[in-house]
C-alpha cells in the first residue's frame, strides 16, 4: 500500500530538517575566523602535497562489481524466501540450480584472486 509509506515521507522531512537546523545553528553560533593555514588540507601537520583527485586502486571497483552481482542475488532470495513455505521442495531445487550457476562465478572470482588483497 503506497499509503503505508506516507509516514516515512514525514520522517524524511523531519530528519532532513533536523540535519539542516543542526548545520544552520552551528553556523550561526560558531566563530568564523578562517585563515589560509586553517583552510589547508590536513596531512598530519605537514604541508599538503598534491591533490586527492587522483586515480584509485582498481580493486575497489572490482569489489563494487562483485557486490552488485551478489546484491542482485539477495534481491532474488527475498521474495523466494517469503513464498518458500508454499512449495518448499520445488522452490529449493530451483534455488539450488540458481545458486549453483552463481557459485561458478563465485569460485571463478575466488580462484582468480578477486577476493585477495595485497
Amino acid at each position: 500500500m503506497p499509503a503505508d509509506y506516507f509516514p516515512l515521507f514525514i520522517m524524511l522531512v523531519v530528519s532532513v530538517a533536523f540535519a539542516a537546523i543542526g548545520v544552520g545553528v552551528s553556523a550561526i553560533l560558531g566563530p568564523h575566523r578562517p585563515t589560509a593555514i586553517k583552510g589547508q588540507t590536513y596531512e598530519s601537520g605537514m604541508p599538503t602535497i598534491g591533490t586527492a583527485r587522483r586515480r584509485v586502486w582498481i580493486r575497489y571497483y572490482l569489489v563494487a562489481v562483485i557486490f552488485i552481482l551478489f546484491d542482485i542475488e539477495i534481491i532474488f532470495f527475498y521474495p523466494w524466501a517469503v513464498v518458500f513455505k508454499q512449495a518448499p521442495l520445488f522452490l529449493l531445487i530451483e534455488m539450488v540450480v540458481f545458486v549453483a550457476i552463481l557459485l561458478v562465478g563465485y569460485i571463478y572470482v575466488w580462484r582468480k584472486g578477486g577476493f585477495d588483497w595485497y
Binding site: I10, S15, V16, G30, A64, F77, A81, K85, V99
Partner: protein, 363 residues
C-alpha cells in the same frame, strides 16, 4: 472525531500524531545516542583500567550535554580545496539516513491513548527489512561523499575502504536474514514478531544467521574489530578527518544511531522484539510488567546487545584489511548460503519424513 469537545477531522488528528511521533522518535534516538556514547566511554575506560568521564555533573552524567554544546559552538572549518556543497551535504545524508532507518522498527505493541490507537512504530511497511537494508545502502553515500569532497588523501582512502567494507558486509548482512524470512514467510517486522510470539524466538533455529548478522552489523557500523575506515594509526580519522563542529558530531551521531538500529533489528528478528521472555514460565506469567510485552523488554534486549558491541570493541584487536575482506567473502558468504540450506532442511523436515514413509508428495 471529538477531542475536548471540538470536532476534528480524523485525518488531521492522524497527521498531527504522526508528526509528533516522528519528533518524539528523533528526540528519543538522540538521547539514547548521547547516553550510550557516555556508557561506552565508561565501559571502555573500565576495560582499560581508567575511570572515564566523571567530572561534568554528578558522576559525569552531563557529559553528553557538554559535548553537544561544545560541538555547536566550535568553528566550522571547510577546507579551501574541498567541494563545498558536497562537504556540507555528506554529514546531513549520514545522519538523516541513520534516523530514517529506525522508523519501521516496532518498539512496543500499539498503545491506546485517549481512544486513538497509536502504533509504536512510525510506518508499518510490508517490506520493513528491505527498507532498512535500502536505507543502509543509501547511507554509504554519506561516507563516500564525505571522503571524496574533503579532497584529502587520508579521507579518500578512508572512504574507499569504508565503501568496499560496507558493500562487502552488506552481502552477508542480507543473506544472513534470508533464513528468517523462510521461516516467517514475511518481510514485515510486525509479522516477524507475531511469528515469534507463536513459535518461539528465531535465535534457536537461526543461530548461524544470528551470529552472521551480528558480526556483519559490527562491520556495517564501523565498530572496532572492523574499523579500518577510520583507523587512527594509519588514516588520521578516516573519512571525517576534515570535519569539525556539528558536522563531525553528525558522523558520530550517525554511527551510534546505526548501532542502535542494527541492535534493534537483531532484537526484532532474532530475539523476539518487544515480547516478554517470561510469559511462558508458569509462576511468572501473572506478574504485571515482567510478563507483559512492552518497550522495556525491547530496550533491555537492545542495550544488552549494545553492551556486547562495546565489550567487543574493548577486547578485540583491529583486523588487517585483507583479513577483513577474506573473512566476509570467503567465510561468511558460504556460511550464509549454508544457513539458507539448513533452514530449508528445517522447513522440509516434515516433508522428508513423509517421503521416507512412502507418502510421496512432490508439490
Amino acid at each position: 472525531m471529538n477531542i475536548l469537545g471540538i470536532s476534528v477531522d480524523p485525518a488531521i488528528v492522524k497527521f498531527i500524531i504522526l508528526v509528533v511521533q516522528c519528533i518524539v522518535w528523533i528526540v528519543a534516538l538522540l538521547t539514547t545516542f548521547a547516553y550510550i556514547q557516555l556508557v561506552e566511554r565508561w565501559t571502555i575506560a573500565r576495560i582499560q583500567v581508567r575511570i572515564g568521564p566523571n567530572r561534568t555533573g554528578p558522576r559525569g552524567l552531563l557529559q553528553p550535554l557538554a559535548d553537544a554544546i561544545k560541538a555547536l559552538f566550535k568553528e566550522e572549518l571547510v577546507p579551501t580545496n574541498a567541494d563545498k556543497l558536497v562537504f556540507v551535504l555528506a554529514p546531513m545524508i549520514s545522519v538523516s539516513c541513520a534516523l530514517l532507518a529506525f522508523a519501521v522498527i516496532p518498539v512496543a505493541p500499539p498503545i491506546n491513548l485517549f481512544g486513538v490507537e497509536i502504533p509504536m512504530q512510525i510506518a508499518d511497511v510490508d517490506v520493513g527489512v528491505l527498507y532498512i537494508l535500502a536505507i543502509g545502502s543509501v547511507s554509504v553515500y554519506g561516507t563516500v561523499l564525505a571522503g571524496w569532497s574533503s579532497n584529502n588523501k587520508y579521507s579518500l582512502l578512508g572512504s574507499l575502504r569504508a565503501a568496499a567494507q560496507l558493500i562487502s558486509y552488506e552481502v552477508t548482512l542480507g543473506l544472513a536474514l534470508v533464513g528468517v524470512f523462510m521461516l516467517t514467510s514475511t518481510l514485515s517486522l510486525n509479522g516477524i514478531v507475531d511469528y515469534q510470539k507463536n513459535f518461539g524466538w528465531l535465535i534457536a533455529p537461526q543461530i548461524i544467521g544470528f551470529f552472521l548478522y551480528v558480526i556483519a552489523s559490527i562491520a556495517e557500523t564501523n565498530r572496532l574489530p572492523f574499523d579500518l575506515p577510520e583507523a587512527e594509526t594509519e588514516l588520521i580519522a578516516g573519512y571525517y578527518t576534515e570535519y569539525s563542529s556539528i558536522k563531525f558530531a553528525f558522523f558520530f551521531m550517525a554511527e551510534y544511531i546505526n548501532i542502535i538500529t542494527v541492535c534493534a533489528v537483531t532484537t526484532t528478528l532474532f530475539l523476539g522484539g518487544f515480547l516478554s521472555p517470561l510469559s511462558g514460565i508458569p509462576f511468572l506469567r501473572d506478574i504485571p510488567i515482567l510478563a507483559w510485552d512492552g518497550i522495556w523488554w525491547f530496550a533491555l534486549k537492545v542495550f544488552v546487545l549494545i553492551f556486547i558491541f562495546m565489550w567487543i570493541r574493548g577486547t578485540f584487536p583491529r583486523l588487517r584489511y585483507d583479513q577483513l575482506m577474506n573473512f566476509t567473502w570467503k567465510a561468511m558468504l558460504p556460511a550464509a548460503l549454508l544457513n539458507i540450506l539448513i533452514t530449508a532442511g528445517i522447513v522440509l523436515y516434515p516433508e522428508i519424513l513423509r517421503l521416507l514413509n512412502g507418502q510421496v508428495t512432490l508439490r
